[in-house]
Symmetry: C2
Subunit: 310 residues, 2 copies
């Protein structure tokens, strides 16, 4: 045992917003789960998927008892699970809202039980419903996998109320660079390490300012133009629930205001806060680049821009 | 409906290795779950955690029925869940193996029921056991959260048989750069975009070669020096199960051999394959850098090295 760090938030789950944020520390993939019941198709985004058993092959996920689709999913006897690929945020957003005809929103084909198998995803599981277990305000659905498919690609992630993407690290030790690396491989490894190092530094700097990445994103976006919740959802990787929570807290802090039309904008205080954040970020970055000759920096910018195809 | 891409693998779950790889497409965080039973402490790494319900506050995870710790977890009546932070791969590795005294491996303090709360993690949940549900070769444990804590930081990830880290994307649209960005902010944004663009290009190049990232990592490591499974686990982000699966397949393909001592090394064919992979990667990278003047490239390397603190 030894000294623990101080929590950012802690308590009993009755503090719903803080409890949700703590749960959000566990990263997940994103799935779309679908079924067909009484001739009608259902599909919804869910991140509660979990692999359970290999023999028999069981998986689970959970659905809000109050969801309009819950009776279909608990009665149909079968469902499909589609694991989304990193480019599929639009699919997740489209099926995160309730929709009269969700399957009209996506590109799909029908599996053995008629359940939707989405195009472009990373994995598909076709399941029969093994059991429906009580899970408080949710039903836990345990499925037995009959067929699966895996596709190449990288997963879309969900963590801390935002979509995310799988990052990479250079492997530990010297195995990558041992065999007299060429100039080119050295450059790629430097590029990755520099990006990673600067990201980590910048994260810890931002944390000192006491603003979450989500709140910072919202301030940045609204500084550019006032917008609705839907607009924020289109323009940022933040989940709708996290947008609502963050706007509520920014409003409490006097930084944002909501017009009768539903449009959010920064208050005077919000504009000032955002300007000082930006100034701080620029000063922080300038310090990192401080000892680098201006000519080198200009050359590095030309190289990076060329690599991006700009 | 429309054209589907071709799966890399598909079938019935009876093909255990392929089924596990399909399940691995769903990314997760990593937790350490602990309990105290009859005076003895238990702790194990698990990635089957899932948030279930807000009112009442319920979460779940599952444990192999054959696990030595299963009787303690299903009988003690309470457990703690610790969500690991991105720097905690060593904690996950230490508690992924069975150990006589797992809690001697980590830094912890006792929660209300005596269950271990780990230092340095992202979130902690102290639970009482609400129910134990049959899940094939696993027990599903549903817990009621009594207390939680959230800490600042980024999550450790697990996906496709490997540890991973949360990557970032620049927000869509012009909101980041709209307000006449300083030279410094422009550089940071270029650095991120260039790294992301090159990573994506390189991933698709590697995919064309028909080798998984995991297999490539193993070939690279063994080209540097022969090693045991434990050595591979220490030096790469690959999970033990995925190392075993990948070595078995590389052996089938005639690329690796196992000595009686348990040390794995590349065969002649493996060495040749690795050399051609490396050559291909260097040529690929050289093509990306082709039109960039040598002076600019050298300056960019100096800048990136300075940013890494090299």
């Amino acid at each position: 045992m030894s000294g623990m760090q101080t929590p950012a938030e802690h308590g009993a789950p009755a503090d719903g917003r803080a409890f949700r944020r703590a749960l959000g520390q566990f990263a997940t993939g994103v799935t779309v789960i679908g079924t067909v019941h009484e001739g009608r198709g259902y599909a919804m985004a869910a991140n509660s998927f979990s692999a359970v058993s290999l023999e028999p092959p069981l998986v689970l996920w959970s659905i809000r008892k109050e969801s309009k689709s819950a009776p279909a999913f608990t009665s149909s006897g079968h469902f499909s699970i589609n694991v989304l690929e990193e480019a599929q945020t639009a699919v997740s957003n489209a099926l995160g809202r309730s929709h009269e005809d969700p399957l009209s929103q996506v590109d799909w084909s029908a599996g053995v039980h008629g359940d939707p198998l989405l195009s472009g995803c990373l994995a598909q599981f076709e399941c029969t419903t093994e059991s429906v277990v009580d899970g408080g305000d949710h039903h836990i659905l345990v499925g037995r996998v009959e067929r699966f498919a895996r596709f190449e690609g990288k997963p879309l992630l969900f963590a801390q109320g935002e979509y995310g993407w799988l990052g990479r690290r250079s492997d530990t030790g010297s195995s990558q660079l041992a065999a007299a690396p060429s100039e080119e491989m050295l450059f790629m490894s430097l590029l990755r390490d520099a990006e990673q190092h600067m990201s980590t530094l910048f994260d810890s700097y931002r944390r000192q300012l006491g603003l979450t990445p989500t709140a910072t994103r919202i301030l940045n976006h609204l500084a550019h133009s006032s917008d609705t919740v839907e607009g924020l959802q289109r323009s940022t990787p933040i989940a709708p629930q996290a947008i609502d929570d963050s706007l509520a807290e920014l409003m409490q802090a006097g930084l944002v205001n909501r017009a009768a039309t539903g449009t959010w904008s920064l208050t005077e205080q919000g504009l000032a806060r955002r300007a000082s954040l930006r100034k701080g970020a620029e000063e922080f970055t300038a310090r990192q680049l401080d000892n680098i000759p201006a000519n080198d920096l200009a050359a590095a910018e030309r190289v990076l821009a060329a690599l991006c195809g700009r």
